[in-house]
Amino acid sequence: MNAGIAGNRGDSVRSDCYVKCTIGSVGGWEIEVESKVEAMYGASIRNLAEQILSYYEIEHAHMVIEDKGALPFVLAARLECAIKKVTAVEKPFLLPLINESLQRSTVDRYRRSRLYLPGNNPKIMLNAGLHGADGIILDLEDSVAPQKKFEARFLVRNALRHVNFGEAERMVRINQIPEGLDDLPYVIPYGVDLVLIPKCENADQIVQVNESICELLQVKESPIFLMPIIESAKGILNAYDIASAATNIVAIAIGLEDYSADIGAQRTVEGKESFYARSVVVNASRAAGIQPIDSVFSDVAKVGQLRKTALESRGLGFVGMGCIHPRQIGVINECYSPTVEELERAQKIVDAYNIALEKGEGVVSIGSKMIDPPIVKRALNVIRNADVLSKNRRNNHG
């Protein structure tokens, strides 16, 4: 008999579980639970398993659950996946939504730091929202082993609904198109703010993603933001086409590991090999009116070098970069935040703008100097984002 298996086992596994499900034709339900939290949650785990079997109208099943302290949303994802591996049932099994996953993002919010979380590792998702990242990425692509791609979708879907990521923008990196289109039904209806499209090479891939989103949500225009990641020479040459392919694209990111390999270069700390590509991404993004975002810095221990790299990146025009560890978030946020001088200057411009508004004047000026509209707009943005930042800090802490 076929067994449906999902989840992880082994001594180092924590906050996760392993489920093995076989469906038979006689004998009713047999549910074996071995849990390190048996005394506190053994009954609750059995209840959940029974609830899911009832939900899918399965009358005869043998379930083995090895639990290492998985939270209910993790157990539910593993149980559902194990069942779906052995029987053709379509509908999702959803636990009640938490309120915090209802908040929505905005187009021009800060995207200084985005923290990558492997999509099949529940342990590190639980507190990911506490470290101050502007965005968290539940990753279905490179950090998930091929044989785990299917089960990761259920975990990511449930994480979107049940983990409080605080003020962070909730992002999912799907797999490369076309495979990534199959990830969309698991994320689009469930509260994702932004979808990262990896290894993006042309505008058509954006169109395909948007068509899927619109179909899934039965809408004409996608309310969900996109951030294509350009990771190849071809992608760089099509950068502006990609950046301007749809109005729901809010940023373009560059992935330098793959890009360097693609052009036959070694990725270096100085980054001379990718200078052209990075500049193209900055220019294409700015031309399309969206945010250019830099790659990740992969040596977690080197905080000093991270700072240097982030400051250089900001100097090139980028507004943020990826994080592979929470320890990188603070430095990255700091490097991409406006400095005190920039804030003061922006405040002066905003004050002048407000005075002009009051007086009904069309021209904003400080002293005898006229301020151009784009500069006013940028200053307004800087101040508004700074307000949001300080408000977020208070909320995060209270």
Binding site: R14, S15, K36, V37, E38, A39, M40, Y41, G42, A43, S44, K68, G69, A70, L71, P72, I98, L126, N127, L130, H131, H325, P326, R327, R393, R394, N396, H397, G398
Partner: protein, 518 residues
């Protein structure tokens, strides 16, 4: 069945444990001892060699000469932590001699002592009066021990010996360096562990004292942390402890981002309420989070060019570096956790070895614990009344000792930095499984999702109003933990008491019952 009475924190306590009557916990500072301290027999030099040579051929011979027999109380110490070889050796000998019903009175036990489970099973050992960690705790929780275990804090152990609650028949003090007279030190030798403070009470009050060493030096052994004048016999063995397992406390700063977050929040709290200032003092724990908090304190001190007056430790390389670079005046050390700590104690007069008598004994004329400005401690559970548990897990199984934890609660500000939940197990609960420390002594709980201040600390709450620290109520934290994890069921127990939890004054604050495995 023994009658049970309700103590001052609402826990039901048998009136008698191990055939001795019990004083139930009466409240902090409420129990008043009367009478005089315990006194060992008067010895005379006429019975000891004039040349000071108390060496006997083997540990077995020393134990036989000390009169080892059924029912005796035998003490050992945890200076070698998980590298201890002597406790197991002592009970191997007792077992070979056919001695039964011994009471083992260690200052703490470690996983290396799981070897003794077979002696608890066959009746060589009746019970353990001391911490029961890991395998020993599980064995006791399942009802495997014949007598009832008794857990005491480091200070409570000194108090129990001083007050005569526990009469030690034979104390075996394993020493990294000693002379034939019995003078001993922990700061040098192949098994150097720093100090021998946990054996102080035993040397002073035990009927017979045996010093065991693998590094015998000619008289005098300087410094003499243990005075030979208390010692009956000295023994040389090949090895007293495994060096690499001796200094094995958690001496790494945590890399866990979640714990770093808690550490940073704790340090910010201490700073913003004005605890971190010139001349302040703190207790540095051994855990990764506590270590990291120490690093944050150090950073603040250096930035402002101010100094701490003393650190109570658990020392390791970090406080040592602070001492050597003048960021702190003194380390008052109870145990050293790495070789840097051992070296510093040996070389630096301002790195002082302390004992449970000076630091923790509640039946003395004061102690150091209450003079510390801030102490950082752990807990397995904390409840909405700020009561905390350090000995059992939420499934009811006994897995840890008390250590100096209860004694440290008397600091001016007691902070427990804990995660809101571990895996799926909430740490903030409605009622602790085992109550080891009353909430009135616990001031602040810091979690990754905010901190809660004991409502009785209106002074701290007032200061926090001026800050943007994430202050929550303890109930809110409990609610959030249950929202994430689900409401935990309570473990089920039988009526059988497997261990008593003593308070620092010798009263019983709670008991641990046998887990029900139905």
């Amino acid at each position: 069945m023994v009658k049970e009475v309700r103590n001052a924190v609402g826990r039901y306590i048998p009136e008698e444990i191990n055939g001795k009557s019990v004083v139930p916990f009466q409240g902090v500072g409420k129990f008043r001892p009367t009478g005089r301290k315990f006194a060992p027999r008067i010895a005379t030099c006429a019975d000891y060699p004039n040349d000071g040579n108390k060496l006997v051929a083997s540990l077995k011979e020393a134990l036989v000469k000390a009169g080892l027999k059924d029912g005796m109380t035998i003490s050992t110490h945890h200076h070698f932590r998980n590298g201890d070889l002597i406790a197991n050796m002592v009970f191997d000998i007792a077992h070979d001699l056919g001695v039964r019903d011994l009471v083992w009175f260690p200052s703490a036990s470690f996983p290396c002592h799981a070897h003794l489970i077979s002696y608890l099973k066959d009746g060589t050992i009746n019970r353990i009066e001391g911490s029961m960690n890991g395998p020993l705790g599980r064995f006791a929780s399942e009802g495997g021990m014949k007598g009832v275990g008794v857990l005491r804090s480091h200070g409570g152990r000194y108090q129990a010996v001083q007050d005569g609650e526990v009469e030690i028949d034979i104390a075996i003090i394993a020493a990294p360096t000693a002379d034939a007279f019995g003078n001993a030190t922990g700061d040098r030798g192949p098994a150097a562990c720093g100090l021998l403070g946990f054996a102080l009470a035993d040397s002073q009050y035990a009927d017979k004292v045996i010093v065991v060493t693998d590094n015998l030096v000619p008289f005098p052994c300087i410094p003499w942390q243990i005075h030979g004048n208390y010692v009956d016999y000295t023994v040389v063995v090949d090895q007293v402890g495994i060096p690499e397992k001796i200094v094995s406390g958690t001496t790494q700063i945590t890399k866990s981002p979640d714990r770093l977050l808690i550490a940073e929040l704790t340090a910010r709290f201490c700073d913003e309420v004005g605890i971190v200032k010139d001349g302040f003092s703190y207790q540095a724990g051994a855990g990764g989070t506590a270590l990291s908090i120490g690093i944050y304190f150090e950073k603040i001190l250096r930035e402002r060019d101010i100094k701490a007056r003393f650190i109570r430790a658990g020392s390791n390389q970090y406080p040592v570096q602070m001492l050597e670079e003048g960021v702190v005046d003194y380390i008052l050390d109870g145990q050293t956790f790495d070789l840097e700590g051992v070296r510093s104690m040996r070389e630096n007069n301002n790195h002082v070895n302390t004992s449970p008598f000076t630091s923790y004994n509640y039946h003395g004329k004061g102690n150091f614990a209450s003079m510390v400005d801030v102490v950082i401690l752990g807990a397995t559970e904390v409840d909405v009344n700020f009561n905390a548990n350090v000995v059992t897990h939420s499934d009811g199984v006994l897995l840890h000792g008390i250590g100096g934890w209860q004694n440290c609660l008397f600091a001016k500000c007691t902070i427990l930095p804990v995660p809101l939940f571990r895996d799926r197990v909430p740490v903030i609960v409605d009622e602790v499984t085992t109550l080891c420390g009353p909430g009135e002594l616990i001031d602040v709980i810091v979690t990754e999702r905010g901190l809660a201040v004991n409502p009785s600390r209106t002074d701290l709450l007032e200061k926090l109003k001026e800050t943007d620290l994430p202050v929550r109520t303890i109930e809110e934290l409990k609610e959030e933990a249950e929202q994430i994890c689900g409401k935990p069921a309570k473990p089920t127990f039988t009526d059988d008491v497997i261990a008593a939890i003593k308070w620092v004054d010798g009263t019983v604050i709670d008991v641990v019952r046998k887990v029900d495995r139905r």
